[in-house]
Protein backbone atom coordinates (compact mmCIF):
# COMPACT_ATOMS: atom_id res chain seq x y z
CA UNK A 1 0.00 0.00 0.00
CA UNK A 2 1.14 3.50 -0.74
CA UNK A 3 0.55 6.43 1.59
CA UNK A 4 1.27 10.05 0.92
CA UNK A 5 2.42 11.97 3.97
CA UNK A 6 1.26 15.52 4.36
CA UNK A 7 1.99 17.28 7.60
CA UNK A 8 -0.76 19.83 8.11
CA UNK A 9 1.08 21.77 10.73
CA UNK A 10 4.16 22.41 8.57
CA UNK A 11 4.99 26.09 8.16
CA UNK A 12 4.12 27.45 4.75
CA UNK A 13 6.99 27.28 2.30
CA UNK A 14 7.40 29.93 -0.36
CA UNK A 15 5.44 29.02 -3.44
CA UNK A 16 7.84 27.94 -6.14
CA UNK A 17 7.19 29.58 -9.43
CA UNK A 18 8.18 26.80 -11.74
CA UNK A 19 6.50 27.33 -15.07
CA UNK A 20 3.12 25.69 -15.21
CA UNK A 21 3.89 22.85 -12.78
CA UNK A 22 1.89 23.21 -9.60
CA UNK A 23 3.93 22.44 -6.48
CA UNK A 24 2.76 21.74 -2.96
CA UNK A 25 3.13 24.72 -0.66
CA UNK A 26 4.35 22.67 2.26
CA UNK A 27 6.67 19.67 2.33
CA UNK A 28 7.04 16.83 4.80
CA UNK A 29 10.71 17.68 5.29
CA UNK A 30 13.11 20.53 4.67
CA UNK A 31 15.71 18.00 3.52
CA UNK A 32 15.75 14.34 2.58
CA UNK A 33 19.15 12.66 2.40
CA UNK A 34 19.31 9.48 0.34
CA UNK A 35 22.13 7.38 1.74
CA UNK A 36 23.29 7.07 5.33
CA UNK A 37 27.03 6.94 4.79
CA UNK A 38 29.83 9.34 5.58
CA UNK A 39 28.51 12.19 3.44
CA UNK A 40 24.81 11.64 4.08
CA UNK A 41 25.00 11.39 7.86
CA UNK A 42 27.32 14.39 8.18
CA UNK A 43 24.93 16.50 6.12
CA UNK A 44 21.84 15.28 7.98
CA UNK A 45 23.29 15.93 11.43
CA UNK A 46 24.50 19.36 10.38
CA UNK A 47 21.09 20.32 9.00
CA UNK A 48 19.41 19.22 12.23
CA UNK A 49 21.72 21.59 14.11
CA UNK A 50 20.05 24.48 12.28
CA UNK A 51 16.63 23.26 13.29
CA UNK A 52 15.77 21.77 9.92
CA UNK A 53 13.38 18.85 9.58
CA UNK A 54 15.52 16.09 8.08
CA UNK A 55 15.03 12.53 6.96
CA UNK A 56 17.75 10.00 6.15
CA UNK A 57 16.99 6.96 4.04
CA UNK A 58 19.57 4.20 4.15
CA UNK A 59 19.25 0.76 2.64
CA UNK A 60 21.79 -1.92 1.85
CA UNK A 61 20.94 -4.21 -1.02
CA UNK A 62 22.48 -7.55 0.03
CA UNK A 63 25.49 -8.80 -1.95
CA UNK A 64 25.18 -11.84 -4.22
CA UNK A 65 26.56 -13.82 -1.26
CA UNK A 66 23.88 -12.40 1.02
CA UNK A 67 26.00 -9.98 3.09
CA UNK A 68 24.38 -6.87 4.46
CA UNK A 69 25.06 -4.30 7.17
CA UNK A 70 23.70 -1.47 9.33
CA UNK A 71 23.61 2.31 9.24
CA UNK A 72 26.83 4.17 8.48
CA UNK A 73 27.72 3.48 4.87
CA UNK A 74 30.74 1.88 3.27
CA UNK A 75 33.50 3.37 5.42
CA UNK A 76 32.08 2.18 8.73
CA UNK A 77 30.81 -1.22 7.61
CA UNK A 78 32.84 -2.54 4.68
CA UNK A 79 35.57 0.01 4.13
CA UNK A 80 38.03 2.10 6.09
CA UNK A 81 37.13 0.89 9.58
CA UNK A 82 37.26 -2.90 9.24
CA UNK A 83 40.12 -2.53 6.76
CA UNK A 84 42.29 -0.60 9.17
CA UNK A 85 41.47 -2.99 12.02
CA UNK A 86 42.44 -6.01 9.94
CA UNK A 87 45.55 -4.21 8.71
CA UNK A 88 46.38 -3.64 12.36
CA UNK A 89 45.82 -7.35 13.06
CA UNK A 90 48.40 -8.14 10.39
CA UNK A 91 50.85 -5.54 11.72
CA UNK A 92 50.53 -7.05 15.18
CA UNK A 93 51.47 -10.41 13.71
CA UNK A 94 54.63 -8.84 12.34
CA UNK A 95 55.28 -7.13 15.68
CA UNK A 96 55.06 -10.47 17.45
CA UNK A 97 57.81 -11.77 15.21
CA UNK A 98 59.94 -8.66 15.76
CA UNK A 99 59.42 -8.87 19.50
CA UNK A 100 61.69 -11.86 19.89
CA UNK A 101 64.65 -9.74 18.81
CA UNK A 102 63.71 -7.21 21.46
CA UNK A 103 63.88 -9.89 24.12
CA UNK A 104 60.35 -11.21 24.37
CA UNK A 105 60.38 -14.96 24.81
CA UNK A 106 57.57 -17.28 23.98
CA UNK A 107 57.86 -20.90 23.04
CA UNK A 108 54.57 -21.48 21.23
CA UNK A 109 54.29 -20.66 17.61
CA UNK A 110 51.78 -17.92 17.11
CA UNK A 111 48.74 -18.54 14.94
CA UNK A 112 45.91 -16.34 13.80
CA UNK A 113 42.21 -17.03 14.41
CA UNK A 114 40.07 -15.40 11.72
CA UNK A 115 36.79 -15.82 13.61
CA UNK A 116 38.09 -14.14 16.78
CA UNK A 117 39.30 -11.14 14.77
CA UNK A 118 36.16 -10.89 12.68
CA UNK A 119 33.83 -11.11 15.66
CA UNK A 120 35.69 -8.32 17.45
CA UNK A 121 35.67 -6.14 14.35
CA UNK A 122 31.97 -6.74 13.69
CA UNK A 123 31.15 -6.03 17.31
CA UNK A 124 32.88 -2.67 17.08
CA UNK A 125 31.08 -1.89 13.82
CA UNK A 126 27.80 -2.81 15.50
CA UNK A 127 28.48 -0.26 18.21
CA UNK A 128 29.12 2.37 15.53
CA UNK A 129 25.85 1.50 13.74
CA UNK A 130 24.03 1.87 17.04
CA UNK A 131 25.86 5.10 17.83
CA UNK A 132 24.69 6.65 14.56
CA UNK A 133 21.11 5.63 15.25
CA UNK A 134 21.26 7.18 18.71
CA UNK A 135 22.83 10.34 17.28
CA UNK A 136 20.13 10.69 14.62
CA UNK A 137 17.28 10.01 17.05
CA UNK A 138 18.77 12.39 19.57
CA UNK A 139 19.02 15.21 17.03
CA UNK A 140 15.48 14.45 15.81
CA UNK A 141 16.58 13.32 12.38
CA UNK A 142 14.09 10.76 11.06
CA UNK A 143 15.86 7.63 9.89
CA UNK A 144 14.23 4.92 7.84
CA UNK A 145 15.87 1.72 6.75
CA UNK A 146 14.33 1.95 3.30
CA UNK A 147 15.37 2.20 -0.35
CA UNK A 148 14.76 5.72 -1.60
CA UNK A 149 14.01 6.69 -5.19
CA UNK A 150 12.62 9.79 -6.85
CA UNK A 151 9.08 9.57 -8.22
CA UNK A 152 8.48 13.30 -8.69
CA UNK A 153 10.42 16.55 -8.49
CA UNK A 154 9.91 16.80 -4.73
CA UNK A 155 8.78 13.30 -3.90
CA UNK A 156 10.65 10.20 -2.82
CA UNK A 157 9.29 6.68 -2.60
CA UNK A 158 10.83 4.70 0.25
CA UNK A 159 10.57 0.90 0.17
CA UNK A 160 11.53 -1.05 3.28
CA UNK A 161 12.79 -4.61 3.41
CA UNK A 162 9.24 -5.93 3.75
CA UNK A 163 8.30 -4.22 0.51
CA UNK A 164 6.13 -1.56 2.17
CA UNK A 165 6.23 1.70 0.21
CA UNK A 166 5.79 5.21 1.60
CA UNK A 167 5.98 8.59 -0.10
CA UNK A 168 7.74 11.62 1.37
CA UNK A 169 8.18 15.15 0.07
CA UNK A 170 10.96 17.63 0.74
CA UNK A 171 12.08 21.05 -0.33
CA UNK A 172 15.62 19.86 -1.03
CA UNK A 173 17.46 16.59 -1.50
CA UNK A 174 20.99 15.35 -1.10
CA UNK A 175 21.96 12.22 -2.99
CA UNK A 176 24.68 10.35 -1.13
CA UNK A 177 24.15 6.80 -2.27
CA UNK A 178 27.79 5.84 -2.64
CA UNK A 179 29.11 2.90 -4.62
CA UNK A 180 29.26 -0.89 -4.64
CA UNK A 181 31.95 -3.26 -5.93
CA UNK A 182 31.97 -4.08 -9.60
CA UNK A 183 31.81 -7.66 -10.84
CA UNK A 184 33.76 -8.99 -13.80
CA UNK A 185 30.82 -10.16 -15.87
CA UNK A 186 32.32 -13.62 -16.37
CA UNK A 187 30.78 -17.04 -15.66
CA UNK A 188 30.86 -17.83 -11.95
CA UNK A 189 31.63 -14.34 -10.71
CA UNK A 190 28.49 -13.66 -8.71
CA UNK A 191 27.95 -17.25 -7.66
CA UNK A 192 31.40 -17.96 -6.30
CA UNK A 193 33.44 -14.79 -5.86
CA UNK A 194 33.33 -12.40 -2.94
CA UNK A 195 34.04 -8.69 -2.75
CA UNK A 196 35.12 -6.32 0.01
CA UNK A 197 31.41 -6.15 0.87
CA UNK A 198 31.66 -9.77 2.05
CA UNK A 199 35.24 -10.05 3.26
CA UNK A 200 35.02 -8.18 6.55
CA UNK A 201 32.16 -10.30 7.88
CA UNK A 202 33.15 -13.59 6.28
CA UNK A 203 32.09 -16.30 8.75
CA UNK A 204 35.02 -18.53 7.88
CA UNK A 205 38.70 -18.02 7.17
CA UNK A 206 39.15 -17.27 3.44
CA UNK A 207 42.17 -19.59 3.15
CA UNK A 208 44.20 -19.53 -0.04
CA UNK A 209 42.95 -16.38 -1.77
CA UNK A 210 43.14 -14.92 -5.25
CA UNK A 211 42.62 -11.15 -5.24
CA UNK A 212 41.64 -9.82 -8.64
CA UNK A 213 42.48 -6.15 -9.14
CA UNK A 214 45.24 -3.62 -8.56
CA UNK A 215 43.31 -0.91 -6.78
CA UNK A 216 44.17 0.16 -3.25
CA UNK A 217 41.31 -2.06 -2.10
CA UNK A 218 42.93 -5.06 -3.79
CA UNK A 219 46.39 -4.35 -2.44
CA UNK A 220 45.27 -3.50 1.09
CA UNK A 221 43.18 -6.67 1.33
CA UNK A 222 45.90 -8.82 -0.21
CA UNK A 223 48.34 -7.21 2.18
CA UNK A 224 46.55 -7.96 5.42
CA UNK A 225 45.42 -11.42 4.33
CA UNK A 226 49.06 -12.29 3.67
CA UNK A 227 50.05 -10.68 6.95
CA UNK A 228 47.63 -13.00 8.75
CA UNK A 229 49.48 -15.96 7.29
CA UNK A 230 47.29 -16.80 4.30
CA UNK A 231 48.54 -17.78 0.84
CA UNK A 232 47.64 -14.78 -1.31
CA UNK A 233 47.94 -14.13 -5.05
CA UNK A 234 47.06 -10.85 -6.77
CA UNK A 235 46.01 -10.96 -10.41
CA UNK A 236 46.70 -7.63 -12.12
CA UNK A 237 45.47 -6.63 -15.56
CA UNK A 238 47.99 -3.85 -16.18
CA UNK A 239 49.40 -1.37 -13.65
CA UNK A 240 49.16 -1.07 -9.89
CA UNK A 241 47.27 1.76 -8.22
CA UNK A 242 46.15 3.63 -11.33
CA UNK A 243 46.00 7.34 -10.59
CA UNK A 244 48.63 7.19 -7.85
CA UNK A 245 52.31 8.10 -8.27
CA UNK A 246 53.61 5.11 -10.21
CA UNK A 247 57.11 5.26 -8.71
CA UNK A 248 55.52 4.74 -5.27
CA UNK A 249 53.04 2.15 -6.59
CA UNK A 250 55.86 0.01 -7.90
CA UNK A 251 57.74 0.21 -4.62
CA UNK A 252 54.60 -0.96 -2.81
CA UNK A 253 54.25 -3.88 -5.20
CA UNK A 254 57.91 -4.83 -4.82
CA UNK A 255 57.65 -4.82 -1.05
CA UNK A 256 54.55 -6.99 -1.09
CA UNK A 257 56.19 -9.43 -3.48
CA UNK A 258 59.27 -9.71 -1.30
CA UNK A 259 57.05 -10.34 1.69
CA UNK A 260 55.13 -13.29 0.40
CA UNK A 261 52.37 -11.97 -1.86
CA UNK A 262 52.35 -13.64 -5.28
CA UNK A 263 51.60 -11.49 -8.28
CA UNK A 264 50.26 -12.62 -11.63
CA UNK A 265 50.73 -9.69 -13.98
CA UNK A 266 48.90 -8.96 -17.24
CA UNK A 267 46.19 -11.59 -16.87
CA UNK A 268 42.42 -11.34 -16.45
CA UNK A 269 40.10 -14.11 -15.21
CA UNK A 270 37.68 -15.42 -17.79
CA UNK A 271 35.80 -17.95 -15.71
CA UNK A 272 35.41 -19.22 -12.15
CA UNK A 273 34.20 -22.72 -11.43
CA UNK A 274 33.49 -24.55 -8.23
CA UNK A 275 35.61 -27.64 -7.66
CA UNK A 276 34.37 -28.36 -4.16
CA UNK A 277 31.70 -26.85 -1.96
CA UNK A 278 32.60 -25.70 1.51
CA UNK A 279 33.35 -22.81 3.81
CA UNK A 280 35.68 -22.17 2.17
CA UNK A 281 35.35 -24.46 -0.80
CA UNK A 282 37.74 -24.82 -3.69
CA UNK A 283 37.39 -22.67 -6.80
CA UNK A 284 39.16 -23.04 -10.12
CA UNK A 285 40.01 -19.83 -11.93
CA UNK A 286 40.89 -19.74 -15.61
CA UNK A 287 42.68 -16.61 -16.78
CA UNK A 288 43.83 -15.23 -20.11
CA UNK A 289 46.89 -13.15 -20.83
CA UNK A 290 46.31 -9.56 -21.95
CA UNK A 291 49.35 -9.70 -24.21
CA UNK A 292 48.88 -12.97 -26.06
CA UNK A 293 46.73 -16.06 -26.08
CA UNK A 294 48.24 -17.75 -23.06
CA UNK A 295 45.77 -19.30 -20.59
CA UNK A 296 46.47 -20.33 -17.03
CA UNK A 297 44.49 -22.05 -14.32
CA UNK A 298 44.72 -21.95 -10.58
CA UNK A 299 42.83 -23.29 -7.59
CA UNK A 300 41.95 -21.14 -4.59
CA UNK A 301 39.69 -21.31 -1.56
CA UNK A 302 38.46 -17.78 -2.11
CA UNK A 303 38.38 -15.35 -5.02
CA UNK A 304 38.09 -11.70 -3.96
CA UNK A 305 37.12 -9.24 -6.69
CA UNK A 306 38.46 -5.70 -6.22
CA UNK A 307 38.36 -4.29 -9.73
CA UNK A 308 36.51 -1.08 -9.07
CA UNK A 309 33.33 0.40 -7.64
CA UNK A 310 30.23 1.68 -9.41
CA UNK A 311 27.96 4.51 -8.20
CA UNK A 312 24.45 3.60 -7.03
CA UNK A 313 22.76 6.13 -9.26
CA UNK A 314 21.06 4.09 -11.95
CA UNK A 315 18.01 2.88 -10.04
CA UNK A 316 17.03 5.81 -7.89
CA UNK A 317 14.73 7.54 -10.32
CA UNK A 318 17.10 10.31 -11.38
CA UNK A 319 15.63 10.17 -14.87
CA UNK A 320 12.22 11.05 -13.40
CA UNK A 321 13.54 14.30 -12.00
CA UNK A 322 15.95 15.12 -14.77
CA UNK A 323 19.20 14.84 -12.83
CA UNK A 324 22.03 14.31 -15.28
CA UNK A 325 24.46 11.48 -14.73
CA UNK A 326 27.45 10.42 -16.77
CA UNK A 327 25.88 7.55 -18.66
CA UNK A 328 29.14 5.64 -18.94
CA UNK A 329 30.34 5.83 -15.33
CA UNK A 330 27.12 6.56 -13.46
CA UNK A 331 28.77 9.48 -11.67
CA UNK A 332 26.91 12.72 -11.07
CA UNK A 333 28.45 15.96 -12.31
CA UNK A 334 28.00 18.83 -9.86
CA UNK A 335 29.13 22.45 -9.74
CA UNK A 336 31.52 23.66 -7.07
CA UNK A 337 28.60 23.89 -4.65
CA UNK A 338 27.71 20.20 -5.03
CA UNK A 339 24.55 21.17 -6.88
CA UNK A 340 23.31 18.92 -9.70
CA UNK A 341 21.70 20.33 -12.82
CA UNK A 342 18.42 20.36 -10.89
CA UNK A 343 18.70 23.31 -8.49
CA UNK A 344 17.06 21.76 -5.42
CA UNK A 345 18.91 18.45 -5.73
CA UNK A 346 22.48 18.13 -4.46
CA UNK A 347 24.98 15.28 -4.25
CA UNK A 348 27.98 14.42 -2.08
CA UNK A 349 30.51 11.66 -1.69
CA UNK A 350 31.86 8.90 -3.90
CA UNK A 351 29.18 9.37 -6.57
CA UNK A 352 30.51 12.78 -7.61
CA UNK A 353 32.24 13.05 -10.95
CA UNK A 354 35.81 14.21 -10.81
CA UNK A 355 36.09 14.27 -7.03
CA UNK A 356 38.09 12.14 -4.62
CA UNK A 357 36.40 9.10 -3.18
CA UNK A 358 37.30 9.57 0.47
CA UNK A 359 35.26 9.66 3.66
CA UNK A 360 36.65 12.94 5.02
CA UNK A 361 35.98 14.61 1.66
CA UNK A 362 32.36 13.47 1.71
CA UNK A 363 31.94 14.62 5.31
CA UNK A 364 33.46 18.02 4.66
CA UNK A 365 31.47 18.51 1.46
CA UNK A 366 28.24 17.49 3.20
CA UNK A 367 28.76 19.79 6.18
CA UNK A 368 29.82 22.82 4.16
CA UNK A 369 26.94 22.32 1.74
CA UNK A 370 24.43 22.32 4.58
CA UNK A 371 26.02 25.40 6.16
CA UNK A 372 25.71 27.21 2.84
CA UNK A 373 22.07 26.14 2.51
CA UNK A 374 20.89 26.90 6.03
CA UNK A 375 23.46 28.94 7.90
CA UNK A 376 24.30 31.60 5.36
CA UNK A 377 27.91 30.50 5.00
CA UNK A 378 29.76 30.71 1.71
CA UNK A 379 32.75 28.39 2.18
CA UNK A 380 33.06 25.77 -0.53
CA UNK A 381 34.74 22.41 -0.15
CA UNK A 382 38.42 22.54 -1.01
CA UNK A 383 39.22 19.45 -3.06
CA UNK A 384 42.83 20.41 -3.63
CA UNK A 385 45.71 18.94 -1.64
CA UNK A 386 43.60 16.34 0.08
CA UNK A 387 45.88 13.90 1.87
CA UNK A 388 45.32 10.18 1.63
CA UNK A 389 46.93 6.95 2.78
CA UNK A 390 47.04 3.45 1.35
CA UNK A 391 47.28 0.89 4.14
CA UNK A 392 49.29 -1.72 2.33
CA UNK A 393 51.79 -3.69 4.45
CA UNK A 394 54.24 -0.86 3.80
CA UNK A 395 51.94 2.15 4.21
CA UNK A 396 51.89 4.94 1.67
CA UNK A 397 50.83 8.49 2.51
CA UNK A 398 50.44 11.18 -0.11
CA UNK A 399 49.28 14.74 -0.50
CA UNK A 400 49.23 16.79 -3.68
CA UNK A 401 50.63 15.94 -7.10
CA UNK A 402 52.13 12.65 -8.17
CA UNK A 403 55.42 13.02 -9.99
CA UNK A 404 53.79 12.24 -13.35
CA UNK A 405 50.97 14.74 -12.91
CA UNK A 406 53.38 17.43 -11.74
CA UNK A 407 55.58 16.91 -14.81
CA UNK A 408 52.52 17.04 -17.04
CA UNK A 409 51.18 20.20 -15.48
CA UNK A 410 54.36 22.21 -14.87
CA UNK A 411 56.93 20.67 -17.18
CA UNK A 412 59.86 18.52 -16.10
CA UNK A 413 62.29 21.43 -16.07
CA UNK A 414 60.10 23.38 -13.65
CA UNK A 415 59.86 20.81 -10.90
CA UNK A 416 62.47 19.52 -8.52
CA UNK A 417 62.12 16.22 -6.72
CA UNK A 418 63.89 15.62 -3.43
CA UNK A 419 63.92 12.09 -2.15
CA UNK A 420 65.46 9.81 0.37
CA UNK A 421 65.38 6.24 1.60
CA UNK A 422 65.21 5.80 5.34
CA UNK A 423 65.51 2.98 7.84
CA UNK A 424 63.06 3.25 10.74
CA UNK A 425 64.91 2.86 14.02
CA UNK A 426 62.35 0.26 15.15
CA UNK A 427 63.29 -1.90 12.17
CA UNK A 428 67.01 -2.00 12.87
CA UNK A 429 67.07 -4.43 15.77
CA UNK A 430 64.76 -7.01 14.20
CA UNK A 431 66.78 -6.73 10.98
CA UNK A 432 63.94 -5.61 8.82
CA UNK A 433 64.54 -4.10 5.39
CA UNK A 434 66.91 -1.16 5.41
CA UNK A 435 66.22 0.20 1.96
CA UNK A 436 62.48 0.07 1.50
CA UNK A 437 61.12 3.07 3.32
CA UNK A 438 61.14 6.11 1.13
CA UNK A 439 60.04 9.72 1.08
CA UNK A 440 59.90 12.29 -1.66
CA UNK A 441 58.66 15.81 -2.15
CA UNK A 442 57.94 17.51 -5.43
CA UNK A 443 58.58 21.25 -5.62
CA UNK A 444 57.52 23.92 -8.07
CA UNK A 445 60.74 25.78 -8.89
CA UNK A 446 58.93 28.77 -10.35
CA UNK A 447 56.89 29.32 -7.23
CA UNK A 448 59.58 29.62 -4.54
CA UNK A 449 60.09 25.85 -4.62
CA UNK A 450 56.57 25.43 -3.21
CA UNK A 451 55.95 21.85 -2.10
CA UNK A 452 53.25 20.57 -4.44
CA UNK A 453 53.57 16.86 -3.79
CA UNK A 454 54.40 14.85 -0.70
CA UNK A 455 54.88 11.08 -0.70
CA UNK A 456 56.04 8.78 2.06
CA UNK A 457 56.34 5.03 2.18
CA UNK A 458 56.86 3.64 5.66
CA UNK A 459 55.23 2.78 8.97
CA UNK A 460 52.48 5.10 10.25
CA UNK A 461 52.40 6.88 6.90
CA UNK A 462 48.91 8.22 7.63
CA UNK A 463 49.98 9.85 10.88
CA UNK A 464 53.05 11.36 9.22
CA UNK A 465 51.14 12.71 6.22
CA UNK A 466 48.37 14.48 8.13
CA UNK A 467 50.60 17.23 9.51
CA UNK A 468 52.35 17.79 6.19
CA UNK A 469 48.96 18.21 4.52
CA UNK A 470 48.26 21.15 6.80
CA UNK A 471 51.68 22.62 5.98
CA UNK A 472 51.07 22.23 2.25
CA UNK A 473 47.71 23.94 2.64
CA UNK A 474 49.61 26.87 4.17
CA UNK A 475 51.92 27.04 1.17
CA UNK A 476 54.95 25.17 2.49
CA UNK A 477 58.15 25.85 0.53
CA UNK A 478 61.33 23.75 0.41
CA UNK A 479 63.16 26.40 2.37
CA UNK A 480 60.58 26.37 5.14
CA UNK A 481 60.75 22.60 5.23
CA UNK A 482 64.54 22.66 5.44
CA UNK A 483 64.47 25.17 8.25
CA UNK A 484 62.05 23.06 10.28
CA UNK A 485 64.10 21.13 12.78
CA UNK A 486 63.34 17.43 12.86
CA UNK A 487 62.08 15.28 15.72
CA UNK A 488 64.52 12.51 16.50
CA UNK A 489 64.36 9.55 16.24
CA UNK A 490 61.24 9.36 14.11
CA UNK A 491 60.65 8.50 10.48
CA UNK A 492 59.06 11.86 9.78
CA UNK A 493 62.26 13.78 10.40
CA UNK A 494 63.53 12.71 6.99
Amino acid sequence: SVQAHKEEDNPQKTMEVNGLTPVPDSYDYDLIVIGGGSGGLAAAKEAAKYGKKVMVLDFVTPTPQGSSWGLGGTCVNVGCIPKKLMHQAALLGQALQDSRKFGWQFTEEVEHNWMTMTESVQNYIGSLNWGYRVALRDTKVTYENAYGEFVGPHTIKATNKKGIEKLYTAERFIIATGERPRYLGIPGDKEYCISSDDLFSLPYCPGKTLVVGASYVALECAGFLAGLGLDVTVMVRSILLRGFDQDMANKIGEYMKEHGVNFIREFVPIKVEQVEEGTPGILKVTAKSTTGGQMIEGEYNTVLLAIGRDPCTRKIGLDKVGVNINEKTGKIPVNDEEQTNVPHIYAVGDILQGKLELTPVAIQAGRLLVRRLYAGETTKCDYVNVPTTVFTPLEYGACGYSEETAVEKFGEENIEVYHSHFWPLEWTVPSRDNNKCYAKIICNIQDNERVIGFHVLGPNAGEVTQGFAAAIKCGLTKEQLDSTIGIHPVCAEV
Binding site: N123, Y124, G126, S127, W130, V134, R137, D138
Partner: protein
Protein backbone atom coordinates in the same frame (compact mmCIF):
# COMPACT_ATOMS: atom_id res chain seq x y z
CA UNK B 1 3.39 -14.29 26.49
CA UNK B 2 4.48 -10.68 27.15
CA UNK B 3 7.70 -9.82 28.92
CA UNK B 4 8.91 -10.60 32.40
CA UNK B 5 11.15 -8.88 34.96
CA UNK B 6 13.88 -10.38 37.13
CA UNK B 7 15.57 -8.43 39.91
CA UNK B 8 19.14 -9.37 40.78
CA UNK B 9 22.04 -8.04 42.77
CA UNK B 10 25.74 -8.40 41.97
CA UNK B 11 27.63 -9.81 39.03
CA UNK B 12 27.40 -13.60 39.63
CA UNK B 13 23.63 -13.44 40.07
CA UNK B 14 23.32 -11.32 36.93
CA UNK B 15 25.32 -13.77 34.81
CA UNK B 16 23.41 -16.81 36.16
CA UNK B 17 20.09 -15.15 35.39
CA UNK B 18 21.10 -13.99 31.91
CA UNK B 19 22.37 -17.47 31.05
CA UNK B 20 19.17 -19.09 32.26
CA UNK B 21 17.23 -17.03 29.71
CA UNK B 22 19.55 -17.80 26.82
CA UNK B 23 17.61 -17.69 23.54
CA UNK B 24 15.22 -14.91 24.56
CA UNK B 25 15.82 -11.17 24.05
CA UNK B 26 17.35 -9.88 27.30
CA UNK B 27 17.39 -6.22 28.33
CA UNK B 28 19.20 -5.11 31.47
CA UNK B 29 19.22 -1.93 33.56
CA UNK B 30 22.22 -1.55 35.86
CA UNK B 31 21.85 0.79 38.84
CA UNK B 32 23.67 1.56 42.06
CA UNK B 33 22.51 -0.14 45.26
CA UNK B 34 19.56 1.27 47.15
CA UNK B 35 19.55 2.11 50.87
CA UNK B 36 16.92 1.07 53.42
CA UNK B 37 14.61 3.82 52.17
CA UNK B 38 14.92 2.55 48.61
CA UNK B 39 17.12 5.45 47.43
CA UNK B 40 20.13 4.73 45.23
CA UNK B 41 23.55 6.32 45.88
CA UNK B 42 23.57 7.06 42.13
CA UNK B 43 21.47 10.19 41.40
CA UNK B 44 21.32 9.53 37.65
CA UNK B 45 19.92 6.06 38.35
CA UNK B 46 17.19 7.66 40.47
CA UNK B 47 16.27 9.86 37.47
CA UNK B 48 16.51 7.13 34.86
CA UNK B 49 14.60 4.31 36.53
CA UNK B 50 11.07 5.72 36.25
CA UNK B 51 11.70 6.80 32.65
CA UNK B 52 12.87 3.31 31.70
CA UNK B 53 10.00 1.66 33.59
CA UNK B 54 7.51 3.80 31.73
CA UNK B 55 8.74 2.32 28.42
CA UNK B 56 8.75 -1.33 29.55
CA UNK B 57 5.35 -1.96 27.98
CA UNK B 58 7.16 -1.59 24.60
CA UNK B 59 9.34 -4.63 25.24
CA UNK B 60 8.93 -7.34 22.62
CA UNK B 61 7.05 -10.50 23.58
CA UNK B 62 9.11 -13.22 25.22
CA UNK B 63 11.78 -10.76 26.36
CA UNK B 64 13.27 -10.58 29.82
CA UNK B 65 14.03 -7.36 31.66
CA UNK B 66 16.77 -7.81 34.28
CA UNK B 67 16.94 -5.06 36.88
CA UNK B 68 20.41 -5.36 38.35
CA UNK B 69 21.85 -3.56 41.38
CA UNK B 70 25.61 -3.49 40.84
CA UNK B 71 26.80 -2.83 44.39
CA UNK B 72 27.74 0.07 46.65
CA UNK B 73 29.54 3.19 45.51
CA UNK B 74 32.99 1.93 46.55
CA UNK B 75 32.56 -1.28 44.59
CA UNK B 76 31.43 0.64 41.55
CA UNK B 77 34.34 3.07 41.68
CA UNK B 78 36.85 0.21 41.58
CA UNK B 79 38.09 0.21 37.97
CA UNK B 80 38.49 -3.59 38.09
CA UNK B 81 35.02 -4.58 39.23
CA UNK B 82 33.46 -7.44 37.26
CA UNK B 83 30.83 -5.29 35.56
CA UNK B 84 33.51 -2.99 34.14
CA UNK B 85 35.87 -5.82 33.27
CA UNK B 86 33.52 -8.38 31.78
CA UNK B 87 30.50 -6.42 30.58
CA UNK B 88 32.55 -3.34 29.67
CA UNK B 89 30.16 -1.08 31.56
CA UNK B 90 31.51 2.44 31.84
CA UNK B 91 28.84 4.07 33.98
CA UNK B 92 25.58 3.70 35.83
CA UNK B 93 22.83 3.78 34.88
CA UNK B 94 23.40 1.60 31.81
CA UNK B 95 20.52 0.12 29.86
CA UNK B 96 21.51 -2.51 27.35
CA UNK B 97 20.32 -5.25 25.05
CA UNK B 98 22.35 -8.24 26.19
CA UNK B 99 24.59 -9.87 23.58
CA UNK B 100 24.51 -6.87 21.22
CA UNK B 101 26.52 -3.63 21.08
CA UNK B 102 23.28 -1.69 21.72
CA UNK B 103 23.27 0.29 24.91
CA UNK B 104 22.37 3.61 26.50
CA UNK B 105 24.63 5.10 29.12
CA UNK B 106 23.92 7.69 31.83
CA UNK B 107 22.02 10.70 30.46
CA UNK B 108 21.05 8.73 27.37
CA UNK B 109 18.77 6.72 29.69
CA UNK B 110 16.81 9.91 30.47
CA UNK B 111 15.50 10.09 26.93
CA UNK B 112 12.29 8.13 26.51
CA UNK B 113 12.71 8.18 22.71
CA UNK B 114 16.06 6.43 22.92
CA UNK B 115 14.80 3.88 25.47
CA UNK B 116 11.88 3.12 23.20
CA UNK B 117 14.23 2.75 20.22
CA UNK B 118 16.39 0.28 22.16
CA UNK B 119 13.34 -1.78 23.16
CA UNK B 120 11.49 -1.80 19.87
CA UNK B 121 13.94 -1.56 16.97
CA UNK B 122 16.46 -4.05 15.70
Amino acid sequence: MGWEEMQVRGYPEFVRTAQSYHGRPIFALFCGDKDAEGRSWCPDCVTAEPIVRKELHNLPDESVFIYCLVGDRAYWKDPNNEFRRNLKLTGVPTLLKYGTPQKLVEEECFKAELVRMLFTED
